[in-house]
């Protein structure tokens, strides 16, 4: 996020796109609701009428996967009607002309046909977002989990630059992170192309710096594989050993049957986790890890805040902190590492090597933590980025993008679109929440949410078991008929194994980020007749 949660309650306007915040980020949503009660305008762009829509001044029910068409058309109107922030654009950005040329080809009428809303609604929305300043954009996986995910993100950034809503309080581009420490795993360089602190592995100076710090002669200079490539490598033999730490890939990746085939092809699979799960079944060695509240450490939240995690009780049996396990393995591979606690790892390595984190030390994290960038120990941290129009590379660059449809569209055989996400009471594959007393009482089973129109057409009753089928698999699941779902859409989560949406989802990926298109695949639903 460029901005912070504490700005939500003071914001004047929100545009929330592709984010069911009330269920996925419930506490963040409470601050949005507080702001609305104080008079802020809320605009929700989402195929579903999710709970925030009840408070919205405007709901823009676009079709799944049509975000770029909408965003480009909004910019078309802003430029055509001269409603954009000319001063910001001139002084803080480059390549406006390229953007203008690109969005000129997206008149509202064209976008309307793609998005399934009226051209008037697009114009109205453009005028509204231009009328209040600053306006805060929040989004979640509804933007990123598409084959065009990266382009979606760029389109959102273009819009906020055009409106001059970057570098100001209560504005910005704010992706809410799905998992508690996605931000941190990125910051720490658990990515194939960067060292901790986003320092490219292809840069010789960065390699030299890390080689020195880590006491090795050379470090690999080519970016490594991303998850889908690793999985594919398992079947071709390109990847012979696979080390999975804490991810239940067998349920969370699209197309479970394909994933299980890949995992079972692994020559040597090591899984490190806190529970046996669908992925450990395929392992050759399973390593038991300490869980949250069983060791000390830090998390980084969506607003780049580093907060402490502390020990409340010891891990069960022989389970050990993950960092200890990695250290022991390194030792057996001939590398002796000095750091012997999470604090030592952070204070002596991470915060020395990552420039954004240099000022963050454990002794400064006792209270509310610190938000990076925090370059030195006298720095108070950074609530919002790009202050006064300062971008990392000097000026903000407009990157025009074209709309592309989802990889798999509805067709005669599979006439509905399946979109997936999270529900409030559970989390991911329920390895944690499924084992918490009481949470299953609130939500004990999955449903496929469908619109009253589609239900009526197929004479499906609420609560009736139906079959949802895609080109990859099928699940039997209870239908939930809900007016929150638009016609043509089926919505499911991936919390329960038997009815997991990932039996159905399409392993089609964004070409640059390799994020899977969890938000769109073609399905059909059928009544199940029991004899």
């Amino acid at each position: 996020m460029t901005n912070s949660f504490n700005e939500f309650a003071r914001a004047k306007m929100f545009m929330i796109i592709g984010s069911n915040m009330v269920e996925a980020h419930p506490v963040a949503a409470t601050f949005v609701k507080n702001a609305v009660m104080r008079g802020a305008q809320l605009i929700v762009v989402d195929p579903r009428r999710h709970a925030l829509v009840d408070l919205a001044a405007l709901h823009v029910p676009i079709r799944v996967g049509s975000d770029i068409a909408l965003l480009n058309a909004l910019m078309h109107v802003l430029i055509a009607e001269n409603l954009y922030d000319r001063k910001f654009v001139e002084s803080c950005t480059i390549d406006f002309d390229k953007l203008a040329a690109n969005v000129r080809t997206y008149p509202p009428e064209r976008a309307a046909a793609i998005c399934g809303i009226s051209a008037e609604m697009i114009r109205d929305l453009a005028r509204r977002i231009a009328s209040v300043k600053p306006m805060m954009v929040c989004y979640t996986l509804g933007i990123t989990e598409h084959t065009c995910g990266k382009h979606n993100v760029q389109a959102v950034a273009n819009l906020q630059m055009l409106l001059g809503n970057l570098g100001v309080e209560c504005g910005g581009v704010n992706p809410l992170r799905g998992q508690n420490n996605v931000q941190g795993a990125c910051d720490m360089g658990a990515l194939p192309n960067v060292f901790p602190g986003y320092q490219a592995v292809t840069d010789a100076d960065h390699r030299a710096k890390f080689a020195k710090a880590w006491g090795v002669a050379i470090l690999p200079d080519t970016p490594g594989l991303m998850i889908p490539q690793m999985m594919e490598g398992l079947t071709t033999g390109k990847v012979r050993a696979f080390y999975v730490f804490g991810e239940n890939l067998a349920n969370t990746e699209p197309d479970i049957r394909k994933v299980e085939h890949e995992l079972s092809s692994a020559e040597f699979l090591v899984v490190q986790d806190i529970f046996p799960n669908e992925t450990t079944r395929f392992a050759h060695v399973v390593l038991p890890a300490a869980a949250w509240s069983e060791n000390d450490g830090t998390f980084s939240n969506s607003e780049r805040r580093i907060s402490r995690v502390r020990t409340a009780s010891p891990p069960p049996g022989l389970a050990k902190p993950n960092w200890w396990i990695f250290k022991e393995l390194a030792k057996r591979m001939g590398r002796a590492w000095a750091a012997d606690s999470a604090q030592a790892i952070w204070d002596e390595e991470v915060s020395v090597l990552a420039p954004q984190l240099c000022g963050i030390k454990y002794h400064r994290l006792e209270g509310d933590g610190l938000q990076w960038p925090c370059p030195d120990e006298s720095h108070a941290g950074t609530c919002f980025l790009h202050k006064d129009g300062q971008f990392t590379c000097g000026l903000g660059v407009f990157t025009p993008v074209e709309w592309t449809p989802p990889a798999e569209e509805a067709c005669a055989d599979y006439p509905l679109v399946l979109s997936t996400g999270r529900r409030l009471a559970h989390y991911h594959t329920r390895t944690q929440t499924g084992r918490c007393e009481g949470l299953n009482d609130i939500l004990g089973e999955e449903t496929a949410d469908i619109s009253p129109q589609d239900a009526a057409e197929l004479s499906i009753r609420d609560g009736e078991t139906i079959r949802v089928r895609s080109r990859r698999g099928e699940v039997r699941i209870k239908a939930r008929v809900s007016a929150r779902v638009p016609r043509g859409l089926v919505w499911m989560s991936f919390h329960f194994r038997e009815t997991c949406a990932n039996w159905l989802t399409n392993p089609a990926f964004d070409p640059s980020t390799l994020t899977a298109e969890y938000k769109a695949c073609a399905v059909r639903i059928e009544k199940v007749y029991t004899a």
């Binding site: 609701k33 080519t222 998850i227 390109k238 450490g297 390194a330 991470v350 918490c436």
Partner: protein
């Protein structure tokens, strides 16, 4: 005399315009008792326990809703104030079944604290309400025999979390906090965030999981930590008793959540005590897992990794880190792959 000052218990103190007497007194280090007041929400003036004596005013005034004014002369514990508070407490105590012995909030109850401070016990009035049912919902227990109708839960639900699940129902003696049509919470708009439980000053609302275990005075440790679920990163207090987390509450005033939690953050802690946890390293032999020591398991992994590096090079290994675990774990794992194995084949589910 400075403009924005008043006299508080014979002391001259400054206040900021717009502050209530309660806030100004708190800033000056004087605590005025409250029950219905919930910080950050509209004062309702429901309980009257915060009454103070303002010289010249005919009646006592409630500190939580009266703005401080220049040159007010205020007494927070005068005889008149104490008399009034005692009467209010007697009424409150008589309005229900305040049997502290078996109350889940015993020791963590603002009503009990005030009864103790002013030495009031329930005797003078007869009970004058008749619904006395404990209703067990998943996670949250509502026991209206301990409800003093302060309305804090209603404020928490409607103004803080804005879930609009509960409100005041009925009138007069029948007054009661109700969820949709006076039914159970689970049939209402309730999302089980538990904000109402955290706000309740008595034992009327409690957590099912902690109801017969948590004893505040047995709590050896209160550990501040960060929620393990979504990317908001809410700050939590873990209430640890006999070496186990028995309850979780939000850290008031903390960034980013200002004391709020959702159902996962508040109630999703006990998975760590599941019997199904992995407790020992496992090695697969002939299709079956068997238990192993750390040395055996780690030696096996390291030797297999070394063998594959020797035969096929470091890029034949790949690793996926965990987006839920701590930063230090991800750092170590990428360091293992880059510095000890020699490949950049390290990734995590960044995008889900």
């Amino acid at each position: 005399m400075a403009e924005n000052t008043f006299t508080l218990n014979q002391r001259r103190v400054a206040f900021m315009p717009g502050q209530t007497i309660l806030e100004a007194a708190a800033a000056a280090g004087v605590r005025i008792p409250t029950l219905c007041h919930l910080r950050g929400t509209t004062p309702t003036g429901a309980c009257r326990i915060c009454l103070v004596e303002v010289t010249g005013a005919r009646s006592l005034m409630s500190a939580c809703s009266t703005p401080a004014a220049p040159n007010m002369v205020i007494q927070t514990e005068s005889t008149r104030v104490v008399q009034a508070r005692k009467l209010i407490l007697e009424l409150l105590l008589a309005s229900g079944e305040h049997d502290c012995l078996i109350c889940p909030s015993c020791g963590d109850c603002q009503l009990q604290d005030l009864a103790f401070k002013y030495q009031v016990s329930p005797k003078r009035f007869n009970r004058w309400t008749d619904f006395r049912k404990t209703e067990v919902n998943p996670l949250i227990v509502r026991d209206f025999s301990r409800c003093i109708l302060c309305g804090r839960c209603v404020q928490a639900c409607n103004e803080v979390q804005v879930n609009r699940a509960i409100s005041f129902g009925y009138r007069g003696k029948k007054a009661k906090i109700v969820a949709a049509g006076d039914g159970p919470l689970k049939d209402s708009e309730c999302v089980f965030c538990g904000e109402c439980v955290q706000a309740c000053p008595t034992g009327a609302l409690s957590e099912e999981k902690a109801r017969t275990t948590w004893r505040p005075w047995k709590e050896r440790q209160r550990v501040r930590t960060t929620c393990p679920y979504c990317g908001v990163g809410c700050q939590q207090w873990l209430h640890v008793q006999d070496g186990k987390i028995v309850k979780v509450t939000g850290v008031m005033g903390a960034e980013p959540n200002k004391g709020r939690l959702c159902v996962k953050g508040r109630f999703g802690y006990d998975f760590i005590y599941s019997e199904e946890r992995l407790k020992t390293p496992l090695i697969k032999e002939n299709g079956e897992f068997r238990e192993a020591s750390w040395d055996e398991a780690l030696d096996l992994v390291a030797s297999k990794f070394k063998q594959i590096v020797a035969e096929s090079g470091p890029h034949a290994l790949a690793g996926v880190s965990c987006a839920r675990s701590i930063n230090e774990d991800s750092y170590q794992m990428q360091k293992l792959f880059r510095a000890a194995i020699g490949t950049n084949n390290i990734d995590h589910c960044a995008r889900t």
